[in-house]
Amino acid sequence: MSLRRRLVISMCAAILLVGLAGAVVAYFEISHQTKRLLDGQLRQVAAVVASRTILQPHSDDAIQVEVWNLDGSRRYTSNPALQLVHRQLPGFSQIVIDGEPYRIFMEDFPDRSVAVAQAVDARDDQAEGAALAALTPALLMLPVLALVMTALVSVLLRPVREAAQVVAERQPLSSEPLNIARLPREIAPLVEEINRLLERQQAALEEESAFLIDAAHALRTPLAALQLQFDVLDGSPDPVERNSRLAALRAGIRRAARLSEQLLAVARTPGFATEQLEHVDFDAILQETCDLYRAIAEDAHVQLRLSAESGVSLHCNPRDLLVIFGNLLDNAIHFAPRGSIVEIASTSDGVTASAEVRDCGPGVSGREPKNLSVRAGGIERLGGFGLRAVQNVTARLGGQIKMLTRTDQASGLVVRITLPIAGS
């Protein structure tokens, strides 16, 4: 339900409730006041009758009058049919004559007693009439008030409606912030939050498009290799050479498939959180990653050496760890000189688990390790796609990446990944 409708309905209901309650109270108050006026009237009539020496019959049915002498004999009655009972107590009281209730006022004067009576029904009619006459205009104003409220609500909510209109007319991927200048103070924070959300969404979109660019870029090299491997297939008449070219093509296809696997793993990153997490033996995953890359390392004449000594398990998706360390190993093997050793070592301090991938390739030259950022020259070594994959997944696992130039060798890069241990 719209805010406007809620406001209108609740305000109309409030007006109706308060108005009716006020009317009820006013009704009883006015009829009470009217009855007091009528009582005053009875008292005045009694005083007038007492002052008259000659009492003539009158035709007013509304007020009955009886006068008695001091000895109790009736001296006058306005309506012989009525027999007001003599010797009521002075003052106001109520009696029933012929089944009809009467309000009666009796007063003793020096020479006579006077009783003035009025039918209760007539009194009630007058009181009701007076009350209704006073209340009618007020009750008639209630719908007018409701209409005015409705109109006011519409006018006051116009900025909100306009903001909604602006949002409704936006292009799906527009990142331009919503204008909050004309919005009421209560709505502005909401719109500011929406603007912030839009900013974050824009950043996410940019990240995604950067990933797509990186992915397309990363696919170019294996595709170029496949194209060339295919182009040279028929170039040699020697069957041994032809077989060797076929083998190269097969290796190229395997490489492209592996890269597409990595790309898929990263592309699925946002959905990872919904997948089943499990307790993963950190050292076993490192062993598995090494096994996966051993053939590639051998092709590059690089030796892989694993020392997995963390002895911890992590609560995560094992594929995440494969993405991180697969990319790091791929990178290390790529840059390691022929005949050198790429090391993976894991340790734990009880709170976090760390693993380092060390190679003897070029290091992070000329940069302070603490100033390293994604774009810093030294890290370009861990180029676009692979770095993005490692960063994305590590950040999601709540871990950290550090890249250092190796000091125990002439050159080399050390990439240290620190990840939180499950439950600590």
């Binding site: 170029a224 290799a225 182009d231 170039g235 490489r255």
Partner: protein, 220 residues
């Protein structure tokens, strides 16, 4: 034609070496930018074409390009790279590349561009190389003698191509060797003599003249 291939990707490099060698090019393949730079700045190395990948491990391809041009080298350089953005292409050409080919590409296109670069460098507009009786079409890798098609091996073709680039000019044994063998080929001492012998059998001995103590030239 002697080509220096600077490419760090082992698969692309191996395929290019194979494909270009099939077609008579002598290809030296270097994976490392720093090594490529020292080879290119060494004027003793008679490369007639450089295929340069920009994304190299140690030296950036663009820096290498700048350094080579600054040294005064005029060797045709064809950049082959995955960096396909406009500013990358502009930067590559502005720093002295003669052409720019974006990965992935097909081998025939690469070779066509190499031939075009060679023509430009030799100051020719026509694709064919001609003498009085011989026509060599680099695009088809076909050799005709007076309308008759001759069948030459890749190396024989390479020798004839080297001689016909400047008809009448004398090429020494060392010059021929450097143009038809890459540095990893093992060259027998009389390999060039043997190739020339076979070639003369096919195209007619009178078409190639032996200039005593200097070398060989094609008969114009």
């Amino acid at each position: 034609m002697r080509v220096l291939l600077v490419e760090d990707d082992p698969m692309i490099g191996a395929s290019l070496v194979r494909g270009l060698s099939d077609h008579g090019y002598a290809v030296d393949w270097i994976r490392d930018g720093a090594e490529a730079q020292s080879r290119l700045l060494d004027t003793e190395e008679p490369f007639q074409m450089v295929l340069l990948d920009l994304g190299l491990p140690s030296t950036d391809g663009l820096e290498l390009l700048t350094a080579v041009r600054r040294s005064g080298s005029e060797v045709p350089i064809l950049v082959i790279t995955a960096r396909g953005k406009l500013d990358n292409r502009v930067a590559g050409l502005d720093r002295g590349a003669d052409d720019y080919l974006i990965k992935p590409f097909e081998l025939p296109e690469l070779e066509a561009r190499m031939r075009a670069l060679a023509r430009r460098r030799e100051g020719r507009a026509t694709p064919q190389l001609k003498t009085a009786h011989l026509t060599l079409d680099p695009a088809l890798r076909a050799v005709l003698k007076d309308e008759t098609v001759l069948h030459l091996s890749a190396k024989e073709y390479a020798v004839l191509h080297a001689l016909m680039v400047r008809p009448g000019a004398v090429l020494s044994r060392a010059q021929l060797e450097s143009q038809i063998y890459s540095w990893c080929d093992t060259i027998e001492s009389n390999a060039v003599d043997f190739l020339l012998h076979k070639l003369r059998q096919k195209i007619g001995a009178e078409q190639i003249e032996n200039v005593r103590n200097l070398g060989w030239r094609v008969h114009t």
